[in-house]
Chain length 333, copies 4
Amino acid sequence: MARVGIYGASGYTGFELIKILTRHPGVEIAFATARSAAGQRLSDIFPTLIDQQLVSADEANLAGVDLIFTCLPHGAAELLPIVQQALERGVKVVDFSDTFRLRDPDDYQRRRGKPHPAPELLSTAVYGLPELHRDAIRRARLVANTGCYPLTAILPLWPLERAGLIADRTVIVDSKSGVSGAGRSLSLKTHFGETHETFSAYTIGRSHRHLGEMEQETGLHIIFSPHLLPVFRGILSTIYVTLRPGVSLEEARAAYGVYAGEPFVRLLPPGRLPELRLVQNSMHLAIGLQPVEPEHGRYIIVAALDNLLKGASGQAVQNMNLMLGFEETTALQ
Amino acid sequence: MARVGIYGASGYTGFELIKILTRHPGVEIAFATARSAAGQRLSDIFPTLIDQQLVSADEANLAGVDLIFTCLPHGAAELLPIVQQALERGVKVVDFSDTFRLRDPDDYQRRRGKPHPAPELLSTAVYGLPELHRDAIRRARLVANTGCYPLTAILPLWPLERAGLIADRTVIVDSKSGVSGAGRSLSLKTHFGETHETFSAYTIGRSHRHLGEMEQETGLHIIFSPHLLPVFRGILSTIYVTLRPGVSLEEARAAYGVYAGEPFVRLLPPGRLPELRLVQNSMHLAIGLQPVEPEHGRYIIVAALDNLLKGASGQAVQNMNLMLGFEETTALQ
Amino acid sequence: MARVGIYGASGYTGFELIKILTRHPGVEIAFATARSAAGQRLSDIFPTLIDQQLVSADEANLAGVDLIFTCLPHGAAELLPIVQQALERGVKVVDFSDTFRLRDPDDYQRRRGKPHPAPELLSTAVYGLPELHRDAIRRARLVANTGCYPLTAILPLWPLERAGLIADRTVIVDSKSGVSGAGRSLSLKTHFGETHETFSAYTIGRSHRHLGEMEQETGLHIIFSPHLLPVFRGILSTIYVTLRPGVSLEEARAAYGVYAGEPFVRLLPPGRLPELRLVQNSMHLAIGLQPVEPEHGRYIIVAALDNLLKGASGQAVQNMNLMLGFEETTALQ
Amino acid sequence: MARVGIYGASGYTGFELIKILTRHPGVEIAFATARSAAGQRLSDIFPTLIDQQLVSADEANLAGVDLIFTCLPHGAAELLPIVQQALERGVKVVDFSDTFRLRDPDDYQRRRGKPHPAPELLSTAVYGLPELHRDAIRRARLVANTGCYPLTAILPLWPLERAGLIADRTVIVDSKSGVSGAGRSLSLKTHFGETHETFSAYTIGRSHRHLGEMEQETGLHIIFSPHLLPVFRGILSTIYVTLRPGVSLEEARAAYGVYAGEPFVRLLPPGRLPELRLVQNSMHLAIGLQPVEPEHGRYIIVAALDNLLKGASGQAVQNMNLMLGFEETTALQ
């Protein structure tokens, strides 16, 4: 029985992670921390029938722990010490933040405008996308769990790029996300009255902080427009890509053969487009490919996933399964 | 042209108030304060096409002002000095909080567990419900604007009580409110992910802080269960009342004749029940009366209103119209 | 491996049923019928990654089938022949409609205003509520799956009644249901624009057609007010019950000891009330018990469940597990 | 006092139209028809406090009527006879369908795959967009009210095209619409359970039937992807346009000076993007212009409107005001 610890268990990703781990036959939860809820039970702060004790980070005991999940907010000051201490003690780490996702310290500096706080860790970190980096994840001690938005661009675009079909290096990704992607921390942006029965765009163009990992993994130049949907879970991205003129639908679909054995990626039949319902509460990323004017290479891709599962906590367990030698899909189907 | 000031303009009630006052032909806004947004425009913090400058409370100038609206959170420390200063300078006040709604200081002490901070003001304050206290409001210098939940109980029950039809002094009021009733201040309770696609009860029984005004105005003993609906605006209350055995539907409906000239109270035809859509974005409180077992006096009343209009800002303007001598329905239809 | 058939697989309960059965290790689906979608696959009419062929009722082959689920609309003319034919061929039946839920043909006649179409079947049918009728269900050939609203009244009230604690035989049940309870058939009532961002009451008092089973199972006189919530799944009922004066919270809670071994019924700790999120996508019915004025016996019970699982398809599989000799919770946790 | 008639008053656009006309000081409603609700009152089929009698189309009396609104479903067989009869009798017509929106019968044939049913009427019909065709609307006897999606593309793109700033003739319009755009007719697409808490794309690329009017009015080649939002009212479009390399934000914004006197079009300040809340229940179309990589001419435009007001019924009244000689904004502010 492997033992895992969770830092930051009181957010949505932490909660989903505990739900998955509770049904994992090979894992037990050694501890779950929550900054402001230490000493309480999970059910005291969340409407759940799962009975999980919460402790402060100080009380988290790494002895005998095989792997930790760090589900802390982006930029949390406590993250780096926790990761470093764990690695030093031989505990593997799956980190939910965007701290370790870019491979190149220079790229990090250029995009964030400041140097990476621990460049030596970047060289050991692996981008936690099994479909692209399965073997490296198996050997990794530190895995940077993927961002939820980026997955909806990387997984649909990478096969087309790999097959040499993309003609225009600039691709437009128009994404719509449920509110859970913004987490459980309080902000006006996620206040019911500011989100319900409305719809808005934000950080459109070239300014979202997860643009970097999309471009790193696809090698493309991406115009990215996120929008906030009045739903809780799910992301749907509509992608405008220009392939080489005359590429047929069959040819384009054939590029996705690279996902043939993948348990969690589905190319839908011709004429079908995914919607959020298809993937909510599941681990699947679904892709629909729509020819528009194939004679000019114009295609639209619609991709959807559950941002809390394939986009966060489920992906983290898929990574953990690889790192600890479990069957990759355990507890995820 | 009357001049009015608004304290606390950055919340939902403040915003609705400004929308109404902007189309009021006899009123101009002298100032609008907002604690954290002073120096900004309303459109900087709210998606609105109305162009209103916001100032700090210190910058609010009472000179030449006829009336102020205080839309501050319940229990705000700055409320009392603002009200006292205004009254001393001859400026009338419509207060949105529950500070001045109970007439009897002893009742206040009993219900809140502490003495009223300004008992001398209670004697001058009038409960701002025009349907019951129109003449007093006309003469009042300080009006306590009604609570949104209480209206849905008081207006349907008062005519039956006045007509002597109620047999059982204990009445059950099962209320369901949209989220805007909890205001724009951040809290987990009004976080999108905690409210959307769910439904919950809270402070049920005898513990909600606005039970007092319901009982004061109706003279009844009320069991009150509020619930939080995943909608933005509107309250619907389902009221279980036992009339004298054998009271006919016609007899019960006749009691509502007292509202014959009221512009904003509607008894629906027999067989019709209000729903939120009927009253959202309107000033109307709608009442449906359903006989269940009239031979035993069992009736159900369903009442609905828009909590931000008849339940708050519209009601405040109705009160202002009476206090400043305007036609009562000005800017409200 | 047991073989089961499904009549009416294209509605919400049919879809949930297929989802559950697909992960049941001891069962395979022999056929799934859908009136207007025969010849299509489930994924052609529903956004699902489950690959299930749909046939017409004529093509359904009962040979070698152990049990059928009939998920047809209330009052469907084809129901009775299907049930009779199955029973004659030794195939067990779990019926989702309200046709067989009342035990007494006279009660049926009185409440529906017409005689039961197959009174001889009523004597063999068992009300499919394992918590009350587990042994009878194990032996039953025809089980009438419970209504979703009734469960939220029966399970919380039955222990109090059984313990002799209820003083007033008339109990008020104020229920709020998600829209999925009205099914997938088209009607204005379930049109998005008529349901979203609103809230309404309907058939309040004594007229809802599932009042009968509530009263049959509890022996109480019930005033029942259903309301339609703008959420998809879940029912929350707020129940106003008068116990014997002076019954303490401990005494009342002790009555629920009868559910001690039940896998799917939970009495929440004192001070906690269920909300829909707690039970959505789960098999649990959760109960919160709130003393209001215990000196007068006044209590409020709040009960919640997922209407598509414990309230319909999950309950049906729980019944099937008992009828076919599987572990009762198989595929339900 | 002008007299107007309404054909098709029981849908969402008909209802909004009646709400506006009820507060119009210069107009009275001569009749309002509703196919299946003839003989009822509007409040019998809609939760409204407005008291409007509904008649069948046969009972509609054109005598003394100045103008009719035809709010019938796209493709309704009864439309053409109604329009022809009205025009013959000298009654002006504002038609809500897409029958008369394309100017060129050949264009209609090419896009619809069949000849126009009344090509002689196309020459008299004016596209009802006051910002582009105000004078022609004033003189028109038949006005084709604009589509709701097209407005969000035409109004933001036309000034840029007019100023000669657009470099790439192909423009991507990614639109998201509330459900009311699909009307009140029943369909699975607008069933609550199929729309709530989900999000989907449909007819993306080059296949939506209102692409034609977008291209007619802008002269551009448009890739158009509509999506269905789980909100009731409002459309937000995110538009990806390539201007001439190096066009500055100031230069691009200056093009919108053409809307200087327009009462209902607003270019937001730099850095601001519209969201649905900004325009819901208002007549405004709001435009935000975001430079992305101006050195390469890359800009994103975000435009939003209320599809039932500026996108349908409000626009129709704006057109009526012009056609009947009223102040253009009467009843619309």
